[in-house]
């Protein structure tokens, strides 16, 4: 397997800003390419905050986070261009169809592949003509996944993407993820608190507790019929 580090965090400590007292501390880990890492912790442990540190244009931490060897805040636009973000909060245009969303928003990426997006939707059995507002939660997640994959990111960030999903959908979802990372050119960091997922699907597990990053370990997933 590949040992190239795709994403690393070194001595990352959040900065407190104004009345916001919550911050993350002691985050250090290195994620090789071609793996799925789970960020686990209770609600309020700081999983979403960690994603915010990466995605926010303003550097809200000390220390260093690198994507493919480059500091993520050195050229943040490049970083965002290399990240596929899937979130339970849908920030897309709800009143437009999946295809319209891709046409409208895909243009911001340097390498957005509309044909690939359409192909992905077809594989996931989602109509591109369907308005996002009318999609089910699972369909929305799949749409986001197709949108993220269409610009071939180096890193997928998934904030509680599988929360509230039925097991059938989750198996499907992980099958897709495994397919994305099989050429080992990208990795996935996803936040979850589902024990079943941790045991069966994740290659690495990072644990957060009240903002502190308390452990990072390798996990041996027992993927029962999930591999694509």
């Amino acid at each position: 397997m590949n040992t190239d580090i795709i994403f690393s965090a070194s001595q990352v400590n959040g900065r407190t800003r104004g009345r916001r007292r919550f911050r993350l501390t002691d985050i250090s880990f290195a994620l090789p390419a071609g793996y799925i890492m789970g960020l686990i912790g209770k609600n309020g442990a700081g999983k979403t905050t960690f994603f915010d540190y990466i995605m926010n244009e303003t550097r809200r931490y000390t220390g260093e986070m690198c994507l493919d060897g480059r500091d993520i805040h050195e050229d943040h636009l490049w970083t965002l261009d290399q990240i596929g973000f899937v979130s339970e909060k849908n920030e897309f245009m709800e009143l437009r169809t999946a295809e319209q969303n891709a046409q409208l928003l895909g243009g911001f990426y340097s390498d957005f592949d509309m044909a690939l997006f359409e192909e992905m939707l077809e594989q996931m059995e989602i109509s591109g003509k369907k308005t996002l507002g009318k999609m089910s939660r699972g369909e929305l997640m799949k749409f986001q996944l197709a949108f993220a994959a269409a610009h071939r990111p180096k890193l997928y960030l998934m904030d509680e993407a599988t929360a509230g999903m039925d097991p059938v959908f989750r198996i499907d979802f992980y099958r897709l993820l495994r397919r994305f990372i099989q050429d080992e050119s990208c990795s996935v960091i996803l936040s979850t608190h589902l024990e079943e997922e941790i045991e069966k699907q994740l290659d690495y597990v990072g644990m957060l507790e009240s903002g502190r990053f308390i452990s990072f370990r390798e996990n041996t997933p027992e993927r029962g019929g999930v591999q694509g």
Partner: protein, 174 residues
């Protein structure tokens, strides 16, 4: 060093073009009604400019208050179709602020604001030209002279104030 600056400038220009393309789409979806309002307010402002500065006393509150109000609303309505989407109409909507829909995409906030402030500048620049002409003409016809105050009055109400309000609106729109 100069080459790097040129490259950065080119990338920023490219980013602004992408934002403009996105805006064109956004505008066709949300803009029709919103553009009606700046038209009405501009008309009222130009009517206000027909009163020469020499004739406006410090006690003419209606004129001052209307002038300030109109110049604030101009930038608000010019920016409206670009700062918000119609997603507020959707029951599952989490945000209608355009930037919130773009913040996880490779979009620079700086270029985003720059493009939008450009729309205000383009609009108020034309308005200022028309308004100033009206102000100077009416001052000349009623008092026989055009002073520097006529020009400053027009620029202040029609250009500086809307730009300032527009800039503030962009800063707080998150």
């Amino acid at each position: 060093m100069k080459q790097e600056d040129n490259k950065k400038e080119m990338m920023e220009k490219q980013q602004r073009n992408v934002i403009r393309e996105f805006d064109k789409e956004l505008f066709t979806y949300t803009g029709q009604v919103a553009w009606f309002m700046p038209g009405i307010i501009s008309f009222l402002l130009i009517c206000l400019m027909a009163i020469p500065f020499q004739e406006v006393g410090p006690g003419d509150y209606i004129i001052w208050v209307s002038g300030c109000n109109f110049s604030a609303w101009i930038s608000y309505f010019v920016l409206q179709p670009y700062l918000y989407t119609t997603d507020t109409l959707s029951p599952r909507n989490t945000t209608s602020v355009t930037y919130n829909k773009l913040r996880y995409l490779p979009v620079s906030r700086k270029q985003y604001n720059r493009v939008r402030l450009g729309y205000v500048i383009r609009y108020v620049w034309k308005l200022t030209l028309i308004g100033l002409t009206v102000q100077c003409l009416s001052a000349f016809l009623t008092t026989g002279t055009v002073t520097v105050w006529n020009v400053l009055y027009g620029i202040g109400i029609l250009f500086v104030a809307p730009l300032l309000i527009g800039w503030l609106q962009l800063m707080i729109n998150r």
